[in-house]
């Protein structure tokens, strides 16, 4: 039987007291930007949660399990973590600072659970798992966790890259991005990711990363649309990947996710930008506490231009108060 761990952990804005069931496996997920790592993790968690809910409903003695997620390399930008926490029930979020302590307790509890027969078969990943998503700038081969190797399962999400002219799969010998040999030495499992055009990163210098925190800012919706269009169409450099969380004046929390190079001429067209409204409490008075910010990966990025446009797109206190009052009045009239 799993031993619950009660811990107090501190994130940037809140203190969480969580009760975690002991996860059984550490799943390391790596891949190039935009390959679909977060999406794959979400799919796994959602599928397992559905399966687990069905099991729980037929076996009341089997309590709802939980999973834990850590994005290694996110720095001060917990965009993926916030997105997954909003999308997946019972997902606990770890920060990098909490990892060592977490692993220490985890191993201790595993030692107590050595007789547990709940370990799943080799091909299915148990719900009680710690998913560690590795930022693209982290060399997965250099990562060593203070746990037994057998407890780690390595997954590489590899783009099924297509040549934009032929719409055929790129020659894997010439395409670093699609070079499964690159991952085969490291990964236990290789899963196909999004079909993005080949980008030979080795012909460029290391891609730049720009991170702008916008917490406390309210962004004008129409301005956000203009900024995002400019960003994803080359106005500020060659953007390969961009994701952000924004709070417009109506209080919603929007998640924007852009991947460059998706094929356009296929039946199952995938939009380059996916916009999701996160199911988080809206902020209808004053400035929001909810994290917001944007992370941009690419080449020849115009940092000053990006920052200026973001600054010019945000509302001042007077405008925020004015629009929030309007919204409140409209809601009152509708009620």
């Amino acid at each position: 039987m799993n031993t619950p761990i009660t811990t107090s952990v501190t994130t940037s804005n809140t203190i969480l007291k969580t009760t975690l069931k002991t996860p059984k496996k550490i799943i390391l997920v790596a891949g190039f930007p935009g390959a679909g790592k977060t999406q794959w993790i979400q799919q796994q968690l959602t599928q397992q949660l559905t399966l687990n809910n069905l099991t729980s409903s037929t076996n009341p003695t089997n309590p709802t399990k939980s999973a834990v997620y850590l994005n290694l390399g996110q720095g001060v930008m917990p965009i993926d973590a916030i997105y997954l926490a909003a999308a997946v029930d019972n997902l606990e979020i770890l920060t990098e600072e909490q990892l060592n302590e977490f692993l220490y307790h985890w191993q201790q509890d595993l030692g107590q659970d050595s007789g547990n027969s709940e370990n799943s078969s080799e091909n299915s990943l148990p719900i009680d798992s710690l998913y560690i998503e590795l930022g693209f700038h982290i060399d997965p081969t250099s990562l060593t966790l203070p746990v037994e190797e057998s407890l780690c399962h390595r997954v590489a999400v590899v783009s099924s890259a297509t040549n934009p002219e032929t719409n055929q799969l790129d020659n894997p010998e010439n395409n670093q991005l699609n070079n499964q040999e690159l991952w085969r030495d490291w990964a236990d499992t290789i899963v196909p990711g999004l079909p993005i055009s080949s980008v030979d990163y080795w012909q460029h210098s290391q891609p730049q990363i720009i991170r702008s925190i916008l917490t406390g800012q309210v962004i004008d919706g129409a301005s956000l649309e203009t900024f995002w269009y400019e960003l994803t169409h080359g106005a500020y450099g060659e953007v390969q990947r961009a994701k952000g969380i924004f709070t417009p004046v109506d209080g919603r929390v929007l998640h924007l996710d852009f991947v460059a190079g998706l094929p356009k001429d296929i039946p199952e067209k995938i939009p380059e930008t996916i916009t999701t409204e996160l199911p988080l409490p809206p902020c209808t008075k004053g400035r929001p506490d909810q994290f917001s910010g944007v992370e941009i990966i690419g080449f020849n990025l115009d940092r000053a231009g990006i920052n200026q446009t973001l600054e010019d797109s945000c509302l001042d206190d007077q405008a925020i108060a004015h629009y929030q009052a309007q919204i409140e009045e409209q809601l009152t009239q509708m009620a």
Binding site: D220, A222, S223, E225, T226, F227, E230, H233, G234, A235, D302, G305, T309, D312, S313, C314, L315, A319
Partner: protein, 270 residues
């Protein structure tokens, strides 16, 4: 008689030069300009000097008026807070660089021009800031033309060229006089047209090329002209002169720099 009608040069000297060459090649007999000589672009004084040198009849545009009066663009033109910031930057920059004689020239421009059955305005006959969009209400559009007494109303301001024919217009009026009862009268409006000349210097049709129109009074035909030019030179000048660099990118894409006409039902009250 072939009349070339240009509009919204917006201090884009390279585009203006290319259009003048094209007008020459098309053997136009005369040129009319619908204003907005300055604003957004990097060469306001050079454009005004050329207009003066060629003695091109020009009516005052919204930007010309704003620069003279020290105002900013009407708020209904800005689709976003970001656009408003950028528009204000362009205003401040233009205000700082134009010569006194340029300002004087813009101040004395008329609000409209007339040539027989042709009328030339910047926005609408009522207001330099009003957009005459192609999808605006039929009656309102007809009223705008009838107000001028002309058959063809040339306008700019929207930066997207079009021709709109207003045919088979039926107007009915009811007059009630004391002790005389009510009299109904119906009359048909003859064919009227609104012709938008697009923009020379700040195109918004998805390409950086300049646009203008030529009206041939003999054939009663309107021809749209789209002129390629070395827009990269303008882009370089935008950056060199300290205008927002994003204007250079947006020019290359054929997008508005800040203001955008959106609502055909909106009547500017400025």
């Amino acid at each position: 008689m072939k009349t070339a009608v240009i509009s919204c040069i917006h201090a884009n000297y390279e585009a203006f030069n290319a259009v003048l060459s094209d007008i020459d090649a098309q053997h136009a007999d005369q040129i009319y300009c619908l204003g907005d000589l300055v604003g957004y672009g990097p060469h306001p004084n050079a454009v005004v000097e050329m207009i003066q040198a060629l003695d091109i009849p020009t009516c005052q545009g919204c930007w010309d008026e704003d620069v003279v009066e020290g105002l900013n663009a009407c708020e209904c033109s800005y689709p976003s807070v970001l656009a408003e910031h950028r528009g204000k930057q362009a205003h401040e920059w233009t205000n700082q660089v134009i010569h006194p004689e340029t300002r004087e020239f813009l101040a004395q421009l008329p609000l409209s021009l007339r040539d027989e059955n042709l009328c030339f305005v910047h926005g609408s006959p009522h207001n330099q800031h009003e957009y005459l969009l192609p999808e605006m209400d039929d009656f309102v559009a007809l009223e705008r033309v009838l107000a001028t007494g002309a058959d063809i109303l040339f306008c700019g301001h929207t930066h997207v060229p079009y021709v709109r024919s207003l045919a088979d217009g039926q107007l009915q009026i009811k007059v009630t006089l004391p002790q005389q009862g009510t009299v109904h009268q119906t009359f048909s409006a003859p064919l009227k047209r609104i012709v938008n000349a697009g923009s020379v210097g700040e195109p918004r049709h998805g390409r950086p090329n300049a646009t203008y129109v030529i009206y041939d009074s003999e054939s009663d035909r309107v021809t749209f002209r789209e002129v390629e030019y070395d827009y990269q030179k303008t882009c370089a000048a935008i950056i060199e002169k300290g205008l927002p660099a994003i204007f250079a990118w947006r020019l290359a894409q054929g997008l508005e720099f800040a203001e955008r006409a959106e609502d055909p039902s909106h009547i500017c009250e400025r």
